[in-house]
Amino acid sequence: MSLFPVLERTSRVALIAGGFCTLANPTRAHEAWLLTPAEINALAAEPIPYIFTSYLVLGAAALIGCTATAAGLLAEEKLQSYEAIIAPKLECLAQTIGPTFLRWTLSLMLVLAGTGGLPRHGTALWVEPTLLVPDMQLSLVPDWTWLAQIQIALALFLALGFFTRVIGLAVIVLVAVGLGVFDAQFIAYAPHFVAPALILVLTGAGAWSLDQWFDPDGRLAPPVVTHQPIWRSAQILVGAGFVYLAVVYKLTQPTLLIAILQHGNLPTFGLPYPVIALIMTGVEIICGALLVVGRLVRPVSVVIIGAITFLAVTLGETPLFHANLYGSMLIFAMAGLRWPAQTTSPSNSQEAVA
């Protein structure tokens, strides 16, 4: 039995399951807002654990992280031999279902943000449109509330796969506007939205799209010589985004992360919460750094998908908060370090998944 139909069916099941997951719990909000008033009170007076203030401990943790990274890099060649077995099938999926999943996840985030369906904790559903993420409430910047309608329009185009590459560029412009409107706060989110948009500029709409009918030859596709630089730029952005988030929100605000883990009763396997928090921070930094340097791309992508899923389930958050990351990491896991040469033309990619 060929592996391809199995992968294709699995992808379809994953898309359907993802759809159900996204509807499961839409009212939860960004991590900091999960905490109850009593937990906020306690957090205000909570001292930073010793392991986050001691250079000795953090230095030793960095050394352990380096050792683990070296072991991973040494194992990369071995892993690549296993990857090579399924790589051709995965690369084919990266050009068909991968972009489809990416534009649907991005579209979901855009439409929910634009309609107030992904609000900050404590805000009623469908009342407060946001810009891409729950924390960026458009009502806080009254001159820019029209961005909600722009997001809904972009989402519609993405869902249908119509002018996908142009819409990808428009999403990049939207993020640039977000940076201008929300200043430094938006930096944390910008790379993780620019990256999927860049990927869509490169890949086009993929399967199940109007672009396959209206632009079967991919006339808007960027020149072949730019494919790999665009692909690597997206990986570097995602990786740098993870490093930034880990440093700004975890490494330098550890009590917040620990409070969130305690709130969610995250399984600790007998380890103290500060140690769990330090491990999580280290894993996020190392995974981000590996994406930046372009090593272990597929395993790192799988690890990140697993980690954000585990955290979302444990903390009772909707996976929608990370839908853009699911799309990006899935296509990274499919294609790996290098964007594959076209194995199926845009016009026959529908047959490839049918």
Binding site: I48, L58, G59, V247, L256
Partner: protein
Amino acid sequence: MKRKILSLIGPMVLIAGLLEALAAGAASFNTGNTAPRSVFLKLPADIPQPSLALSILQDASGNWVLHIDTKAFQFTDICISASEAVPVGHAHVILDGVKIGSAFSPIMHIGVLPPGQHRVSVVLRGQDHRALIGQNGLINAALVVYVV
């Protein structure tokens, strides 16, 4: 073998340098910092520190009305995405451990309370919803009301 070692050295130097730099930087940064800045807004020591006192009254229709008497704090209904460390903002009102709303003025109508003992607490928040922290910690107050 030589190629394998070379392919290991480049990324390892970068990642090891990053991790060690972050370890040194974080240890230094975290020493002396406590309340996470994503949730709390620390007010400078050289301004009058806000304080608050609460009282609650039942009106003729049986509804409870909370009065938030603040000093050195200005209520506003304008919320912004990132506020300065100034004592301007609103208050979060919490009834029996659950936030019931935001007060953008010193008077908040709570409504009818069921019979029994209830704890009402109030925390001052900045214009970006972060909890204000003064020199003595969180700026909050609480009272207990007995409803018969």
